[in-house]
């Protein structure tokens, strides 16, 4: 008995050590460890009027997001209690009923988020950050929820099928299986983004080709997405992997930003691809999914485990709570990846002034607070703050005075 316990303890310790080792590997970036950010005063880059406007704008959004999070947890808490009653709305057997209850959990979330989403839109419209209509927003948001409904159906199918085979140990196989599903979605996602076309501006196309080669990923696809009808700030993203890998620039970015700043955006997005940030994200997700799945398995034992569809509402609530608790870790991780992409972009373009100009312009357009409160960055900051990004540009210039 004692030997068995000892072996178990050893196994747990080994698993924990492996987890920590893997996490530390993922945590590494190419940003120099001794890089000291100069600590700039935002008033050097933004007028006091801009800062006041951004501060008041973001204060409302912060309250809105916090309330939305609390409402979501409350809605899922209620659903955890009342949800099993929805079993009678199904004629679909064990797994199908689990899928239904999973989707209804998302339905609860959607309803709980609706007022906060509308309040956010109202605030954005008031500040000319968005021009989207309320009805369009609701319809778009409702339809966009379709992807989430499909994902949770698939997740429930996998989890409940595994729970049918391994009543207690399903979580070990479920975590990698779910990450594999997410990977499949990530692969397909770039093909599903509407209104894409190749870069029509020959100079930007030439820049993209040069920058991709400089970062060691020649021939990477670059597409422009027509988003001018959607409102919102200009943006860009790196998406997909393998044949679906691409950088997508919003047309609003190309129309409103000068060429050197677009070059910085391109270099930043290429860096996400060249530094395998997507794979790192999925590695991180896998690391997070494993303990979350274990806690879900333990939390639902009294309701029959995830073999029983009636325990799905509780499982969703537990997942939501754990994701909320781990939010600072998630945002810190993505912040590091974004900082690395900025650093690589600086090393590729050698244009710190362009980067400074880019973030000043972006900050003004999106009314981002350059130096938000620490707790806000801790909880929600999935990108470095505007002032930290400008500080990084300055730090790069100090390290590379001749360039």
């Amino acid at each position: 008995m004692a030997v068995r316990r000892g072996l178990l303890a050893l196994g747990i310790a080994a698993a924990l050590a492996a987890w920590i080792f893997a996490f530390l590997q993922l945590w590494q970036t190419s940003v120099p460890g001794d890089l000291a950010l100069p600590g700039l005063d935002p008033t050097r880059y933004f007028s006091q009027e801009d800062l006041d406007r951004a501060s008041s704008y973001q204060a409302f959004l912060r309250v809105d997001v916090l309330l939305a999070l609390l409402a979501q947890l409350a809605a899922l808490g209620i659903y955890a209690v009342k949800g099993p009653g929805f079993v009678r709305e199904s004629a679909a057997g064990r797994i199908g009923t689990g899928m239904l209850l999973g989707m209804l959990g998302l339905a609860f979330v959607w309803l709980s988020q609706l007022p906060f989403g509308l309040a956010e839109l109202w605030w954005e419209r008031r500040h000319d950050v968005s021009s989207l209509g309320y009805v369009s927003w609701i319809v778009n948001d409702f339809l966009a929820a379709g992807g989430e409904f499909l994902f949770i159906s698939l997740a429930m199918l996998i989890v409940m099928a595994l729970a049918g085979v391994w009543r207690r140990a399903w979580w070990i196989a479920a975590a990698p299986a779910l990450v594999a599903v997410l990977l499949a979605f990530a692969f397909v996602q770039p093909y599903l983004i509407p209104d894409q076309h190749p870069v029509r501006n020959p100079m930007i196309a030439q820049d993209a080709e040069g920058l991709a080669s400089a970062e060691g990923i020649p021939g990477t696809t670059v597409r422009v997405q027509e988003t001018h009808n959607l409102g919102g700030s200009p943006n860009a993203e790196a998406a997909g992997f393998g044949p679906s890998r691409r950088v997508i620039l919003w047309d609003t970015l190309l129309k409103r930003f000068p060429r050197p700043e677009v070059r910085v955006v391109l270099a930043h997005e290429f860096a996400h691809l060249s530094r395998d940030h997507l794979w790192k994200q999925f590695g991180f997700m896998a690391l997070l999914a494993l303990p979350i799945a274990l806690v879900v398995a333990l939390a639902t034992v009294r309701r029959g485990g995830l073999y029983d569809p009636a325990s799905v509402p509780l499982a969703i609530f537990v997942v939501a709570v754990l994701l909320f608790v781990s939010l600072p870790l998630q945002t810190a991780f993505t912040r590091r990846l974004e900082a690395e992409a900025d650093w690589v972009a600086l090393n590729t373009t050698h244009q710190p002034e362009a980067m400074t100009g880019l973030f000043r312009r972006l900050g003004r357009l999106s009314l981002a607070q350059p130096d938000p409160p620490g707790w806000d960055e801790f909880l929600f900051g999935d990108h470095p703050s505007v002032i930290k990004r400008i500080e990084m540009a300055n730090a790069w210039r100090e390290r590379n005075p001749g360039r």
Binding site: F86, R88, E89, S90, A91, A92, G93, G96, T97, M99, L100, M103, L104, A107, W110, F142, A145, G146, F149, L150, S153, L154
Partner: protein, 392 residues
């Protein structure tokens, strides 16, 4: 018969003039009801409605004799029963223009609103009854007889149209009843159709699942599509088997039958004809709106060989009925959201539509060589016995 559209021209002229008069009377009636609670010119309106029924029954081939011009009661095989004058609710009268909109849409989809509504135009159909008349015209030329199913469906549409116009012209304040089971179709049809529907729905609807019904159906739509790809090949294989062996292969029949049953379950769920979330396997006996499919039987080789062509009329009608089913779903969505119930009339109309589509698919995909029965009268027969689940 061949010249029916030409023969009916005098009636259409008289009906148009009569219609203008009926609208003028309705306009005066609107004020009269608002002040006194009673309509004026009831006798005239009743005569117009009867005449409308006679003429449309004739032109849509639901009846054969040339109608008279007087709209006399009892003078035509398909007649209108118009309620006697009665007190009418002033609120319902005052807001009649708004209240009539759902009925107008449904009447448009059925093809009896007198105008092609935006809804039916969207679906590129001129309504169910127009499709019925077109198909009936060919059938009568070939067989000298209007098929019973088409006749019954025309009667249902005309009956709804009559109620709709009675409501519009302020003859009554009773809302048009969409229930196909409340109509008198005469003698019950003899049907031993191998594909039958059974209904065991309690009309209760969950507001939450009604609101999110389309999103909740997404996994089913994805699965239907994937399964459907396999069915394309099994149907082709079954076509060859049936052509050579004279009957379908058991395994293919089971596979395709399960798909049609699953399609029926999902269709009933999406269109709010039933409440529970369906299973993914099309297993018999698992859903309130269920399909009983008889085992494989001998099929006529000629009918099998030319199935694609033979199925065209049924597919046309299934398209028109499908547009009506879509409308049923939209109405049921609003009603279900507010009352957590499905109106029985809409549910029964939905069951009929789902059943006709299922029989059409079953015919097209070679589960049977019995032609789909288009009459809503079939649902009045005793429900099909619950089927013993097939072995897995």
């Amino acid at each position: 018969m061949f010249f029916r559209l030409i023969l009916v021209i005098p009636h259409l002229i008289v009906l148009a003039i009569f219609g203008l008069l009926a609208f003028a009377i309705a306009f005066i009636s609107w004020f009269a009801i608002l002040f006194t609670g009673r309509a004026v010119g009831h006798g005239m309106q009743a005569r117009y409605l009867r005449y409308w029924t006679h003429v449309y029954s004739y032109v849509l081939l639901a009846a054969n004799p040339y109608p008279g011009f007087e709209g006399e009661p009892g003078s035509y095989p398909i007649d209108a029963e118009v309620p006697p004058p009665e007190r009418q609710n002033k609120w319902k009268t005052g807001f009649r223009f708004v209240l009539v909109i759902p009925a107008w849409l449904l009447a448009g989809a059925l093809g009896v609103s007198g105008t092609a509504s935006w809804y039916s135009s969207y679906y590129s159909t001129y309504g169910v009854v127009t499709t019925v008349a077109l198909l009936g015209w060919f059938a009568i030329l070939a067989r000298k007889q209007m098929p019973r199913g088409l006749r019954d469906l025309a009667v249902y549409c005309l009956s709804y149209g009559l109620q709709f116009w009675a409501y519009v012209l302020l003859v009554t304040d009773r809302y048009p009843d969409s229930d196909p089971l409340t109509r008198d179709y005469g003698k019950a049809p003899v049907s031993d159709h191998p594909v039958r529907i059974s209904e065991d729905d309690d009309l209760r609807r969950s507001r939450l699942t009604v609101f999110f019904r389309l999103l909740l159906a997404l996994p089913h739509i994805v699965w239907l599509t994937l399964w459907g790809i396999a069915v394309v090949f099994t149907v082709i294989a079954n076509w060859f088997v049936t052509l050579f062996a004279g009957r379908t292969a058991d395994a293919l029949h089971r596979f395709n039958g399960a798909y049609v049953r699953y399609l029926t379950h999902v269709s009933a769920y999406v269109d709010l004809v039933a409440n529970p979330f369906p299973g993914f396997t099309g297993k018999p006996g698992t859903y309130p709106i269920d399909l009983q499919i008889a085992p494989p039987e001998r099929q006529n080789r000629w009918k099998t060989g030319f199935r694609i062509i033979l199925a065209i009329p049924a597919l046309l009608l299934a398209g028109a009925i499908g547009a009506t089913l879509g409308l049923v779903a939209v109405f049921a969505w609003f009603v279900g959201l507010f009352t957590a119930k499905m109106p029985v009339g809409l549910r029964n109309l939905g069951v009929f539509a789902v059943r006709y589509q299922a029989q059409t698919y079953a015919y097209f995909w070679l589960l049977t060589d019995s032609y789909p029965f288009s009459g809503p009268s079939l649902e009045r027969l005793a429900p099909a016995p619950a089927q013993v689940p097939e072995p897995a």
